[in-house]
């Protein structure tokens, strides 16, 4: 049977939700699904991965310490070694900060085709769908080669679990092995015996000197990683734009940096991330990492709330795949009004604080 490798992205010790949509997409290959995890004890996520159809989990780890320090070159190399060891020629990863580092490096090494930001894959035809021309078109791209690589656009493909009957059974089994996974209290009887052992976890150890032994990979040295400071005045929300279900964004209509606090307060109540238009970024009110659009992040949350944003073609290029778009604008003629699902023609300084209040009341009841 053919095999498909899926690089599972872990953030802050948790499996990112977007992984499940990717696994759902991978199931279309009708092959054995191998999940790759790096620096992570897979026992904790085993039952969830199984519920989504993963057959085997490859636990990639360093030889001496368990942890393999982040370095895009060594991580790419590690994934390639695992692909090689298990004879895997199809690889999926999320088109996220990490995926953008790993996939193209692997593609370049293997001289393999790669399509980033896929929104659908047809494994029989070897084609992938992705946006082209700033989200104005959808392209079907045919991949030809020995190895095929796909970057999956996060949060577009719905996750559909398969082995749902066996979820509880697996929970049972992993419970007995690892007490940290005890999430389900009731332990109903199960007929699915395989669920007790699946998915198999296979440790895969990377030799510490592997980078030296390969002349091909040109190393780059990581000096340090600078995390955005959560206490910094630039931190408007603790929710990442790319992972958010709700994004509330501000544009030139915010008028200054201080006013972004209004969005920040609302985001806290909503559990939302805060984004911005380029006009707000270029004015120096908020950092570039908050910019949504053609030359910023391309997001697809369930709800995108645009406050004081006109809705330029370039801004839309970054958020038009949102499920629901809500516009708050004083100008009925702003282009965003014609392109959204709901709009409120009102001063954002009036409506947003009220929304915050209403949501906070809901949260407290």
């Amino acid at each position: 049977m053919e095999k498909t490798g899926i690089f599972i992205e872990i953030a802050n010790g948790r499996i990112k939700n977007a992984n499940y949509g990717m696994i759902t997409a991978a199931r279309g290959s009708n092959s054995e699904l191998y999940a790759f995890v790096i620096n992570f004890k897979a026992e904790k996520i085993k039952k969830k991965l199984y519920a989504h159809g993963i057959d085997k989990i490859i636990e990639i780890r360093a030889e001496n310490d368990f942890e393999m320090a982040w370095n895009p070159v060594s991580w790419s190399k590690a994934v390639m070694e695992a692909m090689n060891a298990f004879d895997i020629h199809i690889l999926l990863a999320l088109t996220t900060g990490i995926g953008k580092e790993l996939l193209p490096r692997i593609a370049a090494e293997l001289d393999a085709p790669l399509v980033m930001d896929c929104i659908g894959i047809d494994f029989d035809k070897k084609t992938a769908e992705t946006f082209r021309y700033s989200g104005k078109t959808i392209a079907t791209v045919k991949l030809t080669g020995m190895d095929l690589l796909f970057g999956i656009k996060p949060n577009i493909i719905d996750a559909v679990p398969v082995n749902t009957d066996s979820v509880t059974a697996v929970a049972m089994s992993s419970d007995s092995i690892d007490s940290t996974t005890r999430e389900i209290d009731a332990l109903p009887e199960t007929k699915d015996i395989s669920a007790l052992t699946k998915p198999e976890i296979i440790p895969f150890t990377i030799k510490t000197d592997f980078l030296k032994t390969t002349g091909q990979f040109k190393n780059i040295k990581l000096n340090k990683t600078v995390m955005p400071e959560t206490s910094s005045s630039d931190n408007f929300s603790n929710v990442n734009l790319m992972d958010a279900d709700i994004i509330i964004s501000g544009g030139r209509g915010m008028k200054n940096r201080e006013n972004f606090k209004i969005l920040s307060d609302c985001a806290k109540q909503l559990g939302a991330a805060v984004g911005a238009s380029r006009a707000a970024v270029d004015s120096g009110w908020v950092p570039y990492s908050m910019q949504v659009g053609q030359t910023g992040e391309k997001v697809s949350p369930k709800v995108y709330i645009a406050c004081g944003i006109a809705g330029s073609i370039q801004h839309f290029a970054g958020m038009k795949t949102s499920n629901m778009i809500i516009a708050v604008n004083i100008d009925l003629d702003a282009s965003i009004i014609a392109l959204c699902d709901y709009y409120i023609v009102m001063d954002l300084f009036e409506i947003v604080p009220l929304l915050t209040k209403v949501i906070s009341e809901i949260n407290h009841t």
């Binding site: 700033s134 045919k142 780059i220 600078v226 629901m324 009004i337 929304l355």
Partner: protein, 255 residues
Amino acid sequence: MQIYVCVKHVPDSAANIVISGKNSIDKSIPFLINPYDEHAVTEAVKLKKSLKKSEVVAVCLGTDDAEKTLRSAMEMGADRSILIMVATGQDSITTAKALKAAIESDGEPGIIFTGRESIDDVGMQTMFRIGKAFGFPVAANVVKFSIKGSKVTVESEREGGIRDVYELPLPCVLAAGRGLNTPEYPTFPQIVKARRKQIKKIDFNTLGIEKIGAAMEVVELKPFVKKRCPVEIKGTPLVAAEKLAKILHEEAKVI
């Protein structure tokens, strides 16, 4: 040092894209230099000014129309250009090979800059393939750059403001992100001067690029329109806020 900058000729982001045939677009819209490549050119020119005896060469694949993009790069300070003449768009596997062959035939690169991605295809991979072709290390989405002797230090923005600080030996490939610098509009004298700068044209077919049996090909292009029917949320501000909360709860199911 020979500094090469790979630039791409892309449709204006504001242009209306009309699909022509099954898998291409009507090219009679304005094309211009890919916005991220402006950061690449700006950084290359800045680097040149800090070094003795160096030259910035812009390289592009395309038809005669791509001269416009090379002219823009030269207005921004590139010394001369290479245009690899090819009638149809190539995938990133072939593009990287062509860029490598053209650069190699021209000189010995000390550093190669590209943009972080192109706004039309957003393949996010050509820079890595160039790196592999030359055997040079690559840093993506570079937002800060400094050079000391034969080493460069870069800050590479990963996601959500997380920055990895890398050290790379020269020669290397660096993909410029926004935030690296602020490209400036060229002055009139710069524009005039750029008109006299050289564009060396190389026929793609003379580069001897062998197809390797790996490729990406757009087989179909469809317009993407998500139909939305805008509905106004009316009432006093408080009523509107309550209605909105209800929509978030009942329809969007996010709260």
